[in-house]
């Protein structure tokens, strides 16, 4: 850290951000460690099971797409992906739609019990799942939402909505209040102001929030597995079942694992600019 920012180089760089020297070593090492397990999973998904078990090889000797073909042609597999994508998409949309007005309220107004309410929302991320799963199951079965996509989407609101409100509130607090006042003086109604003026201003916040909602809903397994049996069964649950049923089909498992990363990678590709563009507007 001490060696960082030698003056000469700092003057040469067009933007005046201090260059951290350790980064030049740290980053490549970090990226290699980051990618190794993923590389290994991709490699395994392209090997035959015989090759995987026969011995160690750094890359597949005979590339096979057999595992992927199995996943894309067997409804037990691909329906898992469709189920997960459906409830994750539903959850992301609902989270954003209800969190946007709430975040606006928290960033612009003070009201009876606002601080308590905010922290109470956050506490819902903090319930240890093991024992709470049973009453969850009973509740969702009683109201007829068991094994439905919307049921899982609603259950995931529990941890995604508080986070969405928190992140969006940060972005909204970064938008000057004068903008609201000017719009009202110009005769905008609240609805028209909110949709026409305000939402475009916090676009990058919405992108980032959507990413986080997608991510946490996509990787969650315990609730999703508890609340489904057949019709809405998530891919992560399909993976655990099939593995224990057919022994260890390593290649298939690896292929399924690779495919769980793909949708998320697409999402992050679309929101990358929003993340780069100053996430923390109001939080800094």
């Amino acid at each position: 850290m001490k060696a960082a920012l030698p003056r000469a180089t700092a003057l040469k760089t067009p933007h005046l951000r201090p260059r951290m020297r350790p980064g030049s070593v740290l980053l490549p090492v970090y990226f290699i460690l980051l990618m190794l397990p993923i590389y290994w999973m991709i490699t395994m998904s392209l090997k035959t099971n015989e090759e995987i078990l026969a011995g160690f090889s750094l890359w597949p000797r005979a590339v096979t797409f057999e595992h992927y073909r199995e996943i894309f042609t067997n409804p037990a597999w691909y329906s898992g992906y469709l189920n997960s994508l459906t409830y994750v998409a539903l959850n992301t949309v609902i989270s954003l739609v209800i969190a946007l007005p709430a975040a606006y309220a928290f960033s612009r107004y003070s009201f009876q019990g606002d601080k308590h309410l905010f922290f109470w929302l956050l506490t819902n991320r903090m319930a240890p799942p093991a024992v709470f799963l049973l009453p969850f199951f009973q509740l969702y079965q009683t109201v007829g939402l068991f094994d439905t996509h919307i049921g899982v989407a609603l259950a995931h609101l529990l941890f995604n909505v508080p986070l969405a409100v928190w992140i969006l509130e940060g972005f909204m607090s970064g938008v000057p209040r004068e903008i609201d006042e000017t719009a009202y003086i110009d005769g905008y109604s609240f609805g028209r102001f909110f949709f026409r003026v305000f939402i475009p201003l916090v676009r990058s916040g919405i992108g980032v929030t959507a990413f986080f909602c997608f991510m946490f809903s996509w990787i969650e397994l315990l609730l999703a597995r508890t609340l489904t049996s057949v019709d809405a069964k998530p891919i992560a649950a399909v993976m655990t079942r099939t593995v224990s049923a057919s022994g260890m089909d390593w290649g298939l498992l690896a292929a399924a694992g690779v495919l769980t990363i793909v949708p998320g990678a697409l999402v992050i590709w679309f929101v990358r600019n929003y993340i780069a563009k100053g996430f923390a507007l109001g939080r800094v």
Binding site: L26, P128, V131, I219, G257, G282
Partner: protein
């Protein structure tokens, strides 16, 4: 100043209702379990605080709690500084920045059980790259039988999975610092450390609070990854609180004690989170009005 307006409740109402729908009934049910001895489907006896007393005396629980505490502290002590360091070293713009962001985010998008599976395979000496490399270096690495190796694997797995979250949040926070601050620092002849300490770190406190709280909550409730890796073993070595709790609730079907313990667990997380939240908010903007204590 914020306008005082109780009509804002209408804007918050959908959030409150949707969260309360999933939050209130299960919580009440768990409280209900925690004060009853459930003998059969229709046979229940009210036992008061008996289960709470029992679980608080349980030596296995103390062990699991200690392991949990050490685990969370170690994981936070690695992930937060490492995440900040990575965010500082990432390129600021251009295609390299985009590519780095996408690559960094990849581990975040892997479902919990798949994370466990990836590392389970990766660490095996016979079919895994990591295990094979260590074995060829002459190390007798085996996470399934050696408690220390199991611990190292679980920590490495968490660092691999979650450091990107800290890095992404900090990276975005850094991008939001206006260039003027750096120019002022340069005029003053500030060293890199001073720039970090007096400009970047204070400006990052908001996102660091989010990162710290999320990582605290999630690591304190870690379940799936160590469960997939070794099932909490070898022995009890990686039986963290959630795994122990599940053993209690499902394995031994002791719903009463398990529920009582869940509530204690829940309370600990809330109290620690609240303290972190309040302390960080006060130290970073002392001018802000004091928070009310709920």
């Amino acid at each position: 100043m914020k306008t005082r307006n109780n009509k804002a409740w209408f804007l918050v109402l959908p959030v409150v209702l949707s969260v309360a729908f999933s939050a209130v009934v299960p919580l009440m049910t768990v409280i209900n379990y925690s004060v009853q001895d459930i003998i059969g489907p229709d046979q229940k006896v009210f036992v008061g605080l008996e289960w709470f007393k029992e679980v608080l005396r349980d030596p296995d629980l103390h062990g699991a709690f200690l392991r949990q505490l050490i685990y969370t502290l170690v994981v936070l002590a690695i992930e937060i500084p490492l995440g900040i360091l990575i965010a500082l070293s990432l390129p600021a713009r251009g295609w390299k920045a985009s590519l780095s962001l996408v690559l960094i985010a990849l581990p975040l998008l892997v479902p919990f059980n798949v994370v466990g599976t990836i590392w389970q395979i990766f660490g095996r000496a016979d079919i895994g790259l990591g295990g094979h490399l260590l074995a060829s270096l002459g190390l007798n690495y085996n996470y399934a039988t050696n408690p220390l190796h199991a611990w190292l694997t679980v920590i490495l797995m968490d660092v691999w999975h979650w450091t990107p979250l800290v890095a992404l949040l900090c990276y975005a926070g850094l991008r939001a610092i206006p260039e003027g601050y750096y120019q002022a620092a340069k005029i003053d002849g500030a060293r890199a450390w001073a720039v970090f300490r007096f400009i970047q770190l204070p400006k990052l406190s908001g996102v660091l609070l989010i990162a710290l709280l999320l990582r605290f909550m999630d690591s304190f409730m870690i379940y799936t990854e160590p469960f997939v890796l070794t099932g909490g073993g070898p022995g009890n070595a990686t039986t963290f609180l959630s795994i122990y709790l599940t053993k209690l609730a499902v394995g031994q079907f002791d719903l009463g004690p398990a529920a009582a313990f869940s509530l204690v667990y829940f309370l600990i997380i809330q109290v620690v989170s609240f303290v972190l939240y309040t302390v960080i908010q006060r130290t970073t903007n002392p001018a802000a009005p004091r928070q009310d204590t709920p």
